[in-house]
């Protein structure tokens, strides 16, 4: 990755603590257009917390976030969306009792000139984007509780893609999926990357990261172990970063 351009996102010295526990402690990560950065670490390493700060779900105690080189104030999910930051959560964050279109447009409903929610227009848009992402998707009228894991995933992804995400956060996007659906998500990531979207990919799966990511940032106990170019390291290097908190070529742990 050539780092001469301005990063899409630059999170500097982020800190947040919950009741005395430093969930994220002085972590800096950045992301360039058309790049996939993997965030790795054990459960509780602070990856999801870090990313929830970027998506507006949590507010950091200190630190700075720059989007396109300009300082951004992200206090809630609405602020994040205003910066074209979209998030696909591990839990998918769908309202099970609503249909696909209502979920896709949740918080950003299309309205008629009278200010009424325009369900038909939203369904029509949903059909269009689904035809692109998952042509097999047919259950437009059912609540999403009636959908399979992969179909729910495609609703969550469609939500991010539809609103022209420039910065996409994917929290364990393939955790609940079968092999075919995982393949679909991988292809989608490549496609989005080609469109110049920057992606933070949170994952447990080293193979996912090796295959999909350009760089990987590893966290342990709330601290950043280091950020490496994926092409320069092996699976084992990444594993030792995750488990031992040791950078490649180092004898003693950095953290």
């Amino acid at each position: 990755m050539t780092n001469s351009q301005t990063p899409l996102v630059d999170m500097r010295n982020i800190r947040i603590s919950f009741g005395g526990v430093h969930a994220v402690d002085d972590v800096s990560v950045d992301l360039y257009p058309g790049e996939v950065v993997g965030l790795l670490g054990h459960n509780g390493a602070g990856k999801s917390t870090l990313i929830k700060i970027l998506s507006g779900a949590y507010q950091m105690d200190s630190g700075e976030i720059y989007v396109d080189g300009k300082q951004a104030v992200i206090r809630n999910p609405r602020d994040a969306r205003a910066h074209n930051i979209e998030t696909i959560y591990q839990t998918l964050a769908l309202a099970d009792n609503l249909d696909a279109a209502s979920n896709l447009f949740l918080g950003r409903e299309l309205t008629t000139p009278l200010g009424m929610v325009d369900d038909d227009a939203m369904e029509a848009e949903t059909r269009k984007i689904m035809a692109r992402l998952n042509p097999n998707f047919k259950k437009f009228k059912d609540p999403v509780s009636a959908l399979s894991g992969g179909q729910r995933q495609s609703v969550a992804i469609a939500r991010a893609v539809y609103f022209n995400a420039r910065i996409l956060i994917m929290d364990e996007p393939t955790a609940a999926l079968g092999p075919h659906e995982t393949q679909m998500v991988s292809e989608l990531i490549q496609q989005l990357k080609a469109e110049g979207i920057g992606i933070f990919l949170i994952s447990h799966d080293i193979h996912d990261v090796m295959e999909l990511c350009d760089r990987a940032s590893v966290m342990k106990n709330g601290k950043l172990v280091g950020t490496v170019d994926v092409k320069d390291v092996t699976d084992d290097d990444l594993l030792s970063m995750i488990i031992l908190g040791k950078r490649p070529g180092e004898d003693t742990p950095a953290v």
Binding site: G56, P77, A93, A95, N97, S102, E109, M116, A121
Partner: protein
């Protein structure tokens, strides 16, 4: 409430082998739950009527007089049930609505009986308007306070409103000093119904025709909207059937309320006051729709639009389905909670106006135990206590079912103890049937 669960035809719309009934249901897109509830209501009505006819020799239930009164008695609980649906959908509960109704009634009573006549003079035309506004504001503010405590102070709604149940009943007693506040303003009284609080035959026809026009327009615009986006259309016969069914129901209601005449005594007094000579065989003056019923219908229609056609309604369902997802989608769930409780309070205030107008006075005991009937109406109407599910029409029908049971048992001479046993059992049975229905529908 759906005895449709007992008929296999209504639940198998998705099975490949389709009976004529399920094809019909699919084409018309009629809600099987709605059909079930109307069926249950019809059973209750016919059952009470037949029981009266066979046992007491007189079927009193299916008479214009009883049905008209039933509609008026349903109004107060029905109005509040429309708000309770939102509260329950978002996984909260409001136990304070009965007490809040009493509190609002007393503030309105004090305003129009003790305060305003001294300032404006008795019978001033503004009195009832100011009184109602005071009541509505009181209800809204109290509701907003409850919502704020729930959302921003993280006190469970059960506790906040349980406290409210005691607080507002006590406050009503203090303000009323334990007295019955009467007589209320004459115009205010019309909100409660009665011969003068109804709109008469001509007015009812006008309302009915507007209703029919609206029903036809909705079917027409729905069809045009589907055409615009190229979605599958309902067959023309299904659209015509739905429009026809709605219009017949509305016209039937108009004919019903118009066939209930004013009592002879009131006709005589009215004739004397207006110098009308009563012809041979008496003068037939129709009640027409009662004003409280029109208020309920208006509330139900507005709330249905709010729930299905506005962002507010969409967010209510989203919060009920998954509060975390709603918050992550940028919905201010705390503020929504305040708004929902404020709306509940507003409707309790409106209900208070109807209830105290009907009584012709305001007492601090008004609305006692209403919270239970309101919650029961919403739940019988298919609102799920687990959140995310519920409809306004269901709650109104639920209120009608509850009131029908009570009225029916009074008419056939069951005493209060048996009434309580029956109403309580029906509540539990309704929720059980609803569970069965949901499982079958999956």
């Amino acid at each position: 409430m759906s005895d449709s669960t007992t008929t296999p035809t209504s639940t198998d719309t998705r099975q490949p082998a389709k009976s004529a009934v399920s094809r019909f249901l699919q084409a018309t897109e009629l809600d099987t739950r709605l059909i079930g509830m109307i069926g249950a209501l019809a059973l209750i009505w016919i059952g009470f009527h037949l029981y009266g006819q066979l046992v007491n020799g007189f079927g009193a239930f299916l008479t214009p007089r009883n049905l008209w009164n039933l509609s008026v008695q349903t109004a107060s609980v029905g109005i509040m049930a429309c708000g309770m649906v939102l509260v329950i959908i978002t996984r909260h509960i409001d136990l304070s609505v009965g007490s809040l109704l009493g509190f609002c009634a007393v503030t309105m009573g004090v305003t129009q009986v003790w305060i305003l006549p001294g300032l404006l003079g008795i019978g001033h035309p503004l009195i009832w308007i100011i009184a109602v506004i005071v009541g509505l504001i009181t209800g809204t503010l109290v509701g907003a306070l409850h919502g704020w405590l729930v959302a921003y102070r993280n006190i469970p709604a059960f506790i906040v409103t349980l406290g409210g149940l005691l607080v507002w009943r006590g406050a009503a007693f203090l303000i009323a000093r334990g007295e019955t506040i009467s007589p209320v303003d004459e115009t205010f009284k019309l909100l409660g119904g009665g011969p003068f609080g109804a709109i008469g035959a001509t007015g009812s026809w006008i309302v009915g025709l507007i209703g029919c026009a609206a029903a036809i327009a909705m079917v027409f615009f729905g069809r045009r909207q589907r055409l615009r986006f190229g979605f599958a259309l309902r067959p023309v016969w299904a659209d015509v059937f739905i429009a026809g069914l709605s219009c017949s129901a509305i016209i039937g209601a108009v004919l019903l309320v118009n066939s209930y005449p004013w009592p002879k005594g009131i006709v005589k007094r009215y004739a004397a006051e207006n110098n009308i000579i009563i012809p041979e065989g008496g003068l037939f003056i129709s009640h027409g729709f009662a004003i409280p019923v029109l208020i309920l219908v208006a509330v139900a229609i507005i709330m249905t639009i709010v729930m299905s056609r506005t962002r507010f309604g969409r967010y209510v369902y989203a919060i009920g389905g998954n509060p975390e997802a709603a918050a992550l989608a940028g919905i201010n769930t705390k503020l929504m909670t305040v708004k929902i409780f404020a709306l509940m309070g507003f409707l309790a205030g409106l209900s208070a106006a109807v209830a105290s107008a009907r009584l012709g006075s305001a007492t601090n005991a008004l609305g006692t135990l209403d919270e239970l009937y309101v919650i029961a109406a919403a739940v019988i109407g298919g609102t799920s206590l687990a959140g995310g599910v519920g409809t306004i029409y269901g709650a109104v029908l639920g209120a009608l079912v509850m009131q029908s049971l009570q009225t029916g048992m009074v008419l056939i001479g069951f005493d209060a103890a048996i009434q309580q046993i029956v109403v309580g059992s029906v509540l539990v049975l309704a929720v059980y049937l609803d569970n069965l229905y949901r499982r079958a529908a999956k």
